[in-house]
């Protein structure tokens, strides 16, 4: 199995020397293709910083990050934007869809950004949405969808660019447990069937049985349970 995401001795320090805060301390993690990893931990433990570094939003102070075989820890912010567009799929806490785009246009936008052909991205978007049970919602705006449906659109959007890895930031935070479970289940299924990888940061312990591996984060350190 190939490695989709790999962090080697990554640490992140905020602030200048005397007032510096070490948020991540020598973290190493490897996520293989087809693997669905959950990261749990109290707030303030560094989960968001971890996700930002793994998601090419932030550069680590020390250590290396590799996504789909490419080292990204020393790239410029322009290059990082490209990495995010090509190799990473994000799912945010509250779906964060664009309010003035229809469900299908949310996905076509990703195709636009990546310079995909319009007809191709239309077809792909329709396919993805039907697969996630949203075939009848293509031309609805986010405001008329339920919370669970919105989060499913967000999952579809994350797959739109064929990413190496999906990063989910508490995707169930705004859902009740039944809907939340549905959403995570769908995510897990997609990861398996596509042979890609996913990392989910969560508070919700009821979802952990759907993950292949659970990693605990506390005070900037990872420990496998």
């Amino acid at each position: 199995m190939s490695t989709q995401l790999r962090l080697d001795n990554v640490s992140k320090i905020y602030g200048a020397e005397d007032t510096s805060v070490k948020v991540l301390k020598d973290i190493s993690l490897e996520v293989k293709a087809g693997e669905f990893v959950a990261i749990v931990g109290p707030s303030g433990s560094g989960k968001s910083t971890f996700l930002s570094i793994a998601g090419a939003l932030l550069s680590p102070t020390n250590g290396t990050v590799t996504i789909g075989g490419q080292e990204i820890s020393r790239l410029s912010s322009q290059q990082l934007t490209d990495i995010r567009l090509q190799k990473i799929g994000f799912i945010f806490q509250s779906a964060n869809l664009i309010p003035y785009l229809t469900v299908r246009d949310q996905l076509i936008l990703i195709g636009e950004l990546a310079g995909m052909k319009k007809s191709h991205s239309k077809k792909k978007a329709t396919e993805l949405l039907s697969r996630l049970g949203l075939g009848h919602r293509l031309h609805h705006y986010p405001e008329s969808l339920s919370g669970g449906e919105r989060q499913r659109v967000a999952i579809a959007r994350a797959w739109m660019n064929d990413p190496e890895i999906i990063l989910a930031d508490e995707p169930t935070a705004s859902l009740d447990s039944e809907r939340g479970r549905d959403v995570v289940h769908m995510l897990a299924d997609e990861v398996k069937s596509r042979g890609k990888a996913a990392v989910m940061v969560t508070h919700d312990h009821r979802m952990l049985d759907l993950c292949d591996r659970v990693v605990h984060m506390e005070d900037g350190k990872l420990s496998v349970s």
């Binding site: 490209d82 994000f90 945010f92 964060n96 309010p99 003035y100 785009l101 936008l109 930031d169």
Partner: protein
């Protein structure tokens, strides 16, 4: 463009309201500009269309034709300087006349010229005066609206002289009054009761057609004169500067207001969408993509508003009464359009700055 157009469609009311304000501002800008242009030519078309480049005035006359008095020997000195170029005297006298029909008084301005010189106006009806004509005049055709026609006689109030109208000219006004062209023999006759010596021909200015070198030559070689360009002399027409100045100030303020209205509108919209921009950047949208979207929105709104504004201006100008001075040509509209687009882009800079400052990281760890 993908997002820009969809957003405009989705938030129609919002964008229609802002376009409405833009339409009104564009309309007002064009209308006031047209009025300024119209007034300018209504005021001073005789100078604007004059076939001369420079005017020689008496020293210290403040660029005002009406304040200057020159004598014959100055004309001779100027002619020595101009060599081949033309130099010809011009007499200007504001006065009041009455017609045969009624006692209604009409303000006019006499232009005394040599009928063969370059200053001869274009006659559109009747025929031109000549050197030997006596007590005959060609007048601006705006006097037709007052009921005058060829062969009618006008009486000069100050001197009591009567002139027969033998021709009509077009576009000849000075300080909002129609110009009455006469020759210098008649010019003397309306000044009879002033003490002018027989051969001392006094007039107000010398019109010169020639290059800047010639003008400079006159300036240095002839004493007691100042040489001004045609556009400078416009400023010296009573009321011209004040009229144009206040209208120009209105137009300038309208442009500034347009810039601010757009700036504030897009700034508020941008602030509302900060979290969206964070998400877009997180999923890989480049700043250039977001900037293009914003700018295309601003341009689309401005262009549509301008088009409607131009249409409205023309529509309303057709409804205006003839006597209302209004003039708008394609050149002026083009300049206004470019300026308008420029200030709207200027107005969007603040929003662009805010978008550029949004950090993609804000999308993580936040329940929006």
């Amino acid at each position: 463009m993908f997002m820009a157009i969809r957003e405009l469609r989705h938030a129609k009311t919002r964008y229609i309201l802002i376009s409405l304000i833009m339409v009104l501002i564009a309309w007002l800008v064009l209308f006031v500009t047209g009025l300024a242009q119209g007034l300018s030519s209504d005021n001073a078309s005789s100078i604007q269309t004059m076939n001369a480049d420079y005017l020689v005035l008496q020293h210290n006359s403040d660029q005002r034709l009406t304040r200057s008095t020159l004598e014959h020997h100055t004309l001779e000195e100027v002619k020595q300087q101009t060599a081949n170029a033309e130099a010809t005297p011009l007499g200007v006298q504001m006065s009041t006349v009455t017609s045969d029909y009624n006692d209604k008084r009409i303000d006019v301005t006499y232009f005394a010229i040599n009928p063969q010189s370059m200053l001869a106006p274009q006659v559109v009806e009747g025929h031109m005066i000549n050197d030997s004509s006596s007590l005959e005049a060609v007048v601006d055709r705006s006097l037709k609206e007052k009921g005058l026609k060829l062969g009618d006689v006008i009486h000069d109030q100050a001197s009591g002289q009567a002139f027969t109208i033998i021709g009509f000219t077009k576009g000849q006004s000075f300080s909002h009054t129609p110009v009455v062209h006469i020759n210098f023999a008649d010019w003397k006759s309306i000044h009879q009761n002033r003490s002018i010596k027989e051969d001392e021909l006094a007039f107000n200015a010398i019109a010169v057609k020639g290059t800047k070198e010639i003008a400079d030559g006159i300036k240095t070689q002839v004493s007691g004169v100042e040489v001004i360009s045609k556009s400078q002399s416009l400023q010296g027409i009573p009321g011209y500067k004040e009229e144009q100045g206040s209208l120009l100030m209105m137009v300038a303020f309208l442009f500034i207001i347009a810039a601010f209205v757009l700036a504030v509108f897009f700034y508020v919209m941008t602030i509302q969408k900060m979290s969206q921009f964070g998400v877009l950047k997180a999923i890989g949208a480049k700043m250039s993509y977001l900037a293009r979207g914003l700018i295309s929105q601003v341009l689309m709104l401005s262009i549509i508003s301008l088009a409607i504004g131009i249409g409205l201006t023309y529509g309303v100008s057709l409804l205006l009464p003839e006597s209302m001075p209004f003039e708008l040509n394609a050149g002026v509209i083009t300049i206004c359009t470019i300026l308008f687009l420029f200030v709207s882009l200027l107005g969007s800079l603040l929003s662009l700055y805010r978008v550029a400052k949004v950090d993609a990281i804000e999308a993580i760890g936040r329940a929006a």
